[in-house]
Amino acid sequence: MKRIALLGMPNTGKSTFFNRLTGASARVGNWPGVTVDLLGAKVLLGDETVEIVDLPGIYDLHGFSDDEQVVRHFLENNPVDQVLIVLNVSQLDRQLSLVLQILQLKMPAVLLLNMVDEARRHGISVDREKMSEMLGIPVLGMSAKYGDGYKEAHELITREVRNSEPVRLEKIRELLVRDDEIENTMEHVFTSTVQVPAQLSNTLTEKLDNLFLHPWLGLPLFFGVMFLLFQAIFFLGAPLQDLVAWILDQFRVLVLDPLFSNVPAVLNGVLLDGIYNGVGTVASFIPIIIMFFLFMALVEDSGYLSRAAFLMDTLMSKLGLDGRSFVMVLMGFGCNVPALMGTRVMRSRALRLLTMLVIPFSLCSARLQVFLFMIAALFTADQAPLVLFSLYLFSFTTVFLTALLFKGKYHSEEAFILELPPYRFPTLRQMILRGWHETRHFLHRASKFIIAGVVLVWLLTNFPPGVETASAQTWAGRIGEFLSPVLDPIGIDQQLTIALIFGFVAKEIVVGALAVIYGSEGTELMGLMANQLDWVQAYSFMLFTLIYTPCLSTVATIRSESRSTAFTIVSVAWPLALAWVVSFIFYHGARAMGY
């Protein structure tokens, strides 16, 4: 099968073009020589099926950034029949260098000048015939976003790929030696083919920047935008989540329970309480992931995410992070899972790993449910807001502390230079495609791990056969007993330990687990817990719940996004250790002060 590689600089609409070319059929896959996921699709061009691969956006084939190395390794390990180069017409003065580098490598190429709509607005015009003549490759103008010129591009690619021969490269960096020659040629081609008006009329972006990057208003506006975004995602997502849970519940009550009523209890438990609940856990994330990426596409494609990076950079650079990390941490307060997936916009691996390490400390809405319940049980109404506020404070503190401690280990070698693209409004199609791709990615990569984990916890809390669920005689109870030398010193008794083991599946079920463990529900359960625990124990338990191992779905996402078992282990072990130390200090401090 012939292979086409899509290449371009960041912010040129390359992925928009890829989506238009491949529709919803694109899949994440692995290719020889590269360690990161790339999107690829098989598309019928004319009468032949061709594989199209979307390579990461890069500035320079010669450079050292993670993405630039990925592109080089891809081209060195995978023969390519055709390179489609996507450039932004308005920025040809610097982007033509990428075309010249590809030509130096003697690869068959087609040049697509994207965003002609924007260029027209700016009064920029290009003599494409002359450019094509000077470069020796076909040149076409188009708007991948609105579809102008797309048909012609499609026909051209179909025609070109039919006659092309695969090229396999070795040692690309050695082939690219004449940088200054490229610079001269670029200048020459640019001045002979592109007309740019003396004064660029880009007033809308400038006006918006004056507002959004205002020295005093910028930050308050940023927090306002984040607040609205948060509300939009989670207030629209939560009812959808409830709906999904309701449908799954109805299906179980009306169909599965009668159907499996005659199978042995153990099998029934594994199938329904194990596997089916696991499926339910996976499904409960889908509405949130869709909503998150619908709105994230808006924030990202509009160009505002880069402005957030600008606004937060002073603080974030001290933590070894950037402003985009901060946005993801904030979103993590709703749900850690999509926030972790959202870190993919950060192109430096070290920066991304550090961000993924701190996101799980964000007090997500699932943990909030546990805290609201415990606070209601053990604190007065006057104390409640303060207690909750202190937990949020701990959440932020652990984020900053973790970043400071690990910034040396996950230190980004890449200089932090970011484009501030003009403000653009994404089309609805772009937003929906994004939500769809991300959901499929999550299902594909994380669902097996999550379901297996839910089954495992079910086994732990129901085995050996014959014992009462979640009692001290179960394996979970024995683990609790085994761990008591570790957890007793922080005030967490055996019953709470079993709840923590449940909490590993999802924090939402901790309250439900407590109900099973204590054998009562609602206000009665609150009363029972208030009798058995004092506030110091309860607060220690909440601190531990806040900080310790993020839920199973978070771990699954960290594993699938980092593709590193070692990193996943660190991201589980470090919060566990920190949770213990913080709870220990709190518990003994409070006891020492006489509480």
């Binding site: 600089m9 890069i58 500035y59 320079d60 010669h62 450079g63 050292f64 950034s65 630039e68 308005s90 920025q91 003065d93 610097r94 260098s97 700016h122 940088d179 610079e183 740019v196 660029l200 880009n202 972006t205 920047d209 990057l213 020295p215 880069s306 990076a309 600008f310 606004l311 950079d313 002073t314 650079s317 070698e413 890449e414 200089a415 932090f416 230079i417 970011l418 484009e419 501030l420 693209p421 003009p422």
Partner: protein, 78 residues
């Protein structure tokens, strides 16, 4: 004409890049963004509290940390 570091330029000021004192990887990164000797750059704004700089080069707007802007020499234009 005297030389200035890009990091020392005030908002609204423009100049021509006269030298890039960078390591190889930063050099490539800057070149890809359009930072090459002889190019005209304008400082659009500077972030508060030693924050990043907002630089315009050709039709591209870029944010750059001051630490990196220190490595770029500019001939101020009138």
């Amino acid at each position: 004409m005297s030389c200035l570091k890009l990091s020392a330029m005030k908002p609204g000021a423009s100049g021509i890049i006269s030298a890039l004192h960078t390591e190889e990887d930063l050099f490539h990164r800057l070149a890809g963004m359009g930072f090459r000797v002889g190019k005209l750059v304008t400082v659009v704004r500077r972030g508060k509290f030693s924050g990043p700089m907002h630089i315009r080069i050709g039709t591209t707007d870029i944010m750059l940390r001051r630490l990196d802007a220190q490595k770029i020499d500019i001939h101020p234009s009138i």
